[in-house]
């Protein structure tokens, strides 16, 4: 299992109150769960320890520290970077007692199969398209589109929750830009991961 949870605590922006997660946080959590499943980033079988008995559950808590628009893109990157960093300790099931013994010394990194990257656009009344909108731009925007692509240029997710209508050609334009951006971002992520790998 992989359970993502996006939290928007009040510390990140004055527009969020403390208490149960609001609609935006829940919609973001659902979006992240969809992206994980659609892109087959982590295959659930990789998380299995013994068939039918034991499996890892990964709880991903994505906590927003500072909200300046474009929550979905940042959450996807953070999740990707975190998953690449995960080390799962090896587990042996003790035959006699039936209990599991976790060996913290022996760790294997988690296999991340695909690297989805999200690109968000803010739409203004069918005329303007702004990539990576800030909070102010999002407020004034009449709609948003988020496109998640993976390495092979396949679409993992097109998320356009309402907002002003877009023609098919405009959507295609967004997708091509998303694919270009994917390549740049992937290079960046790889560089960062390499630099923090323990020697």
């Amino acid at each position: 299992y992989l359970v993502p949870n996006v939290e928007l605590p009040s510390l990140c922006s004055e527009r969020f109150r403390s208490g149960p997660p609001g609609e935006e946080a829940q919609a973001a959590s659902q979006f992240i769960a969809d992206v994980i499943e659609n892109s087959q980033m982590i295959v659930k079988e990789d998380l299995c320890i013994t068939n039918g008995k034991l499996a890892w559950v990964l709880y991903c808590d994505i906590i927003c520290l500072d909200y300046d628009g474009n929550l979905l893109d940042a959450s996807v990157f953070a999740l990707l970077a975190a998953l690449k960093n995960v080390q799962l300790p090896s587990v042996i099931i003790n035959e006699e007692t039936g209990l599991s013994e976790v060996n913290l010394k022996q760790k294997t990194p988690l296999a991340v199969r695909k690297h989805p990257v999200a690109t968000s656009f803010a739409i203004f009344d069918d005329t303007l398209l702004i990539v990576d909108p800030t909070a102010e731009e999002e407020d004034f925007a009449t709609g948003t589109v988020t496109i998640v692509t993976d390495e092979e240029g396949r679409l993992c997710s097109v998320h356009k929750p309402g907002g002003s209508p877009l023609t098919g050609a405009k959507l295609q334009d967004c997708i091509t830009r998303a694919i270009t951006r994917h390549k740049e971002v992937k290079k960046l992520i790889d560089k960062v991961i390499k630099s923090i790998m323990p020697k």
Binding site: A33, E37, N38, S39, P161, G163, P165, T167, G168, Q172
Partner: protein, 191 residues
């Protein structure tokens, strides 16, 4: 009004424009709220995400500026689910808006396409077709220029496939708008 497509059935109830609570009212437009109730269980994260999509789609078509400081509430109850639930909700929402007589800038309809394993595009898939499909795409198409109001995908597909589904969905939208016209015509010609 209740809308059923195949075995999927959704009941839509629209209340408004009514007086809004002070915390929710917007000074220049009507505040739209969508509540989606699943058939069993309490509404969860999936329902919230669907509600947000429906709400923003409706906000794009409802002329809220004509009714400032009011609240419009749309309640959708899922009666039965046999595939293409989101597009059924979209269609029910639109018919609800029409029925209530709210001022709209255009109509919208929901279409679901499923990409089967043999690359066949299936419109309005059943639950089994959805499960077997590689990808399921749902679009909300508006009536004035057949543009895309809302898009959601489940599963991955290539860009060309998405464009193909979009074109198919736009063509299917014509049939659905004709259906709206017919049912409204029937309803208002009796009285």
């Amino acid at each position: 009004p209740s809308l059923s497509a195949g075995d999927t059935s959704v009941l839509a109830g629209l209340y408004g424009p009514a007086e809004a609570k002070l915390s929710k009212e917007l000074p220049d437009r009507a505040a739209l709220e969508v509540l989606l109730r699943p058939k069993v269980g309490l509404p969860g994260v999936l329902e919230r995400s669907r509600e947000q999509q429906l709400r923003q789609t409706c906000e794009a078509v409802v002329l809220g500026v004509l009714h400032p400081r009011t609240a419009v509430t749309l309640v959708l109850q899922v009666l039965s689910d046999a595939g293409s639930l989101l597009s059924c909700c979209l269609n029910a929402a639109c018919m609800g808006l029409l029925d209530a007589g709210l001022p709209l800038s255009s109509l919208f309809c929901g279409v679901t396409c499923a990409l089967g394993p043999d690359d066949a595009i299936a419109l309005d898939p059943t639950a089994r077709q959805e499960q077997e499909a590689r990808a399921v795409l749902t679009f909300a198409i508006d009536s004035s220029e057949r543009k895309v109001l809302m898009a959601t995908t489940k599963g991955s597909c290539s860009v060309e496939e998405m464009q193909q589904c979009l074109v198919t969905a736009q063509r299917a939208a014509d049939t659905i708008f004709q259906f709206y016209r017919d049912s409204l015509h029937r309803r208002y010609s009796k009285s």
